[in-house]
Symmetry: C2
Subunit: 301 residues, 2 copies
């Protein structure tokens, strides 16, 4: 049984275009309509063929959809929803793929009063952007978190669960507030730290940028990957999940200060104890299939 | 022309065993003798066959070597050098692969008065440890930094340069103090931050460890790789390069505080400007062959 027959995807970047491709690969009879507010992206998406049609306006894109999926920066959700609000079919389910869930629910609820809104977040991605960067297997073996509000019809949540499972994801239902806390530590803080250290390295006087690049294989290059992620998407994430990000950042800063002190006062045992403990988490991530065991992420040598 | 004919490697972990394997692959007529202070490692190394012989004592290992290469944690260099000091041939070159160069030169000079010491650092590695983890191509296309002291015979430095080039590395000569500053930002600080955030995540109450692991694909898992590196090796790195690490850490903390403030006060333009700038560094690293362009480090999807 197919949960949806006519799906509209708003936003045709890495995630939106990957969802479209995954639908084509796993539910080929579903009709996929695309829309992107950027004319250039619409033109680039067309020949890639992952949508059956690409609309010129948000309203015409949703007009007979039974699922409307927003794949735009979280700060743009409300505005784009307002654009198509008048054309949204009453029985359509509205969902999204954003990395913050409380702010998205607020924005969509305000723009689409009375609509069935089930926010969702597939925890998957790469550092690449744009419609060319998407691929059909992006969600295979990854988690997709649904955060239905208390009054959401359970049938709609169930259909969305089946939809994501068909794209290869494992589905979890979670409270939106808890989601935002979990993602603040597993995704938002890592990105913030990566952006920071790459910026710090870029600003040094004694060490040239060329040296930073040459010797990046000592660890630094790992951080540059996520620091190459979409700037607008990430600007919006930090502003939209401010409370949880600042909370996690505060804890991280305290822990970093403690390590700084351990280094200053030669507390070798404290350092070694932490470094031993962190190994176990890596092992669990690999065991649970959330990363490869290949050394160095399987990079070629 | 082969720069050395009889090479002794002290320490048979990831790096030492990779050097041995790379010698076998690129200079098969060179005789390689190995030694490790850990009896268990010596026993595991023997059947792997990357050494022609494995000695039971540091002194007997070096007795007719023309190159002695120390691949032990930087805090252990002085002690192991003292063990073989009496047996070191007068014309042997002593070098190492440690991640800090000022402290290693001090330790080796004190333990081996009059010896020819050319510290070196191949900027390469993986998060795996032990003799099983090494491989012959680890140094291909990576940089190896030599930090000869002012009074080092230039012929010895030249031989070491040829040696590392034959293992596939590009060689750079650098002042030891500058090396320690460069590596503090490109390697030591990234490891410190990765260890910290993995520890922070492990300590949370509201978010369980199982959630951190499940949703790690959002960015966190990237940090767990280097946070799985050898605990003793890294404890020694931070204590041995204390001054430069604390300096870089201070700069990083200032930059992180600035970003924290930008988030708190909704300075979206500041965030976006930084996130755009950091993309360029990633691009340069990929262009200069220090990382793959494949999305997500080329992980399988």
């Amino acid at each position: 049984m197919l949960p949806f027959a006519r799906i509209t995807i708003i936003g045709l970047g890495l995630i939106g275009s990957s969802v479209a491709r995954a639908i084509k690969a796993n539910m080929p009879t579903v009709r996929v309509t695309g829309y992107d507010s950027d004319t250039g992206v619409r033109e680039r998406a067309r020949p890639l063929g992952f949508c059956d049609d690409i609309a010129g306006h948000a309203g015409t894109a949703v007009i007979d959809a039974d699922l409307v999926l927003l794949a735009v920066p979280v700060g743009a959700m409300g505005a784009v929803a307002a654009e198509f609000a008048a054309d949204l079919p009453a029985d359509a389910v509205v969902s999204d793929v954003g990395s913050c869930k409380q702010s998205v629910l607020s924005a969509l609820s305000a723009a689409l009063p009375g609509a069935v809104i089930i926010p969702a977040h597939p925890v998957a991605g790469t550092e690449k952007s744009g419609p060319e960067a998407g691929f059909a297997t992006l969600f295979q073996g990854r988690w997709c978190i649904l955060t239905p509000p208390a009054d959401a019809p359970s049938a709609a949540t169930e259909k969305l669960r089946i939809f994501w499972q068909r794209l290869g994801a494992d589905v979890e239902i979670m409270d939106a507030r808890h989601h935002d806390m979990v993602l603040a530590i597993t995704s938002h803080l890592p990105h913030l730290i990566a952006y920071t250290i790459v910026g710090t390295a870029d600003d040094l006087g004694e060490v040239t940028q060329s040296e930073v690049i040459k010797y990046s294989a000592g660890g630094f290059r790992d951080f540059t990957r996520i620091a190459a992620s979409d700037p607008v998407m990430w600007r919006d994430v930090f502003l939209s999940n401010k409370e949880a990000v600042l909370e996690m950042l505060q804890r991280f800063s305290e822990d970093l200060t403690a390590l700084q002190r351990a280094i200053r006062y030669d507390k070798g045992e404290d350092l070694e104890a932490l470094f031993t403990r962190t190994r176990d988490i890596r092992r669990s991530i690999v065991e649970q299939g959330q990363d490869d065991d290949a050394p160095d992420f399987g990079r070629k040598h």
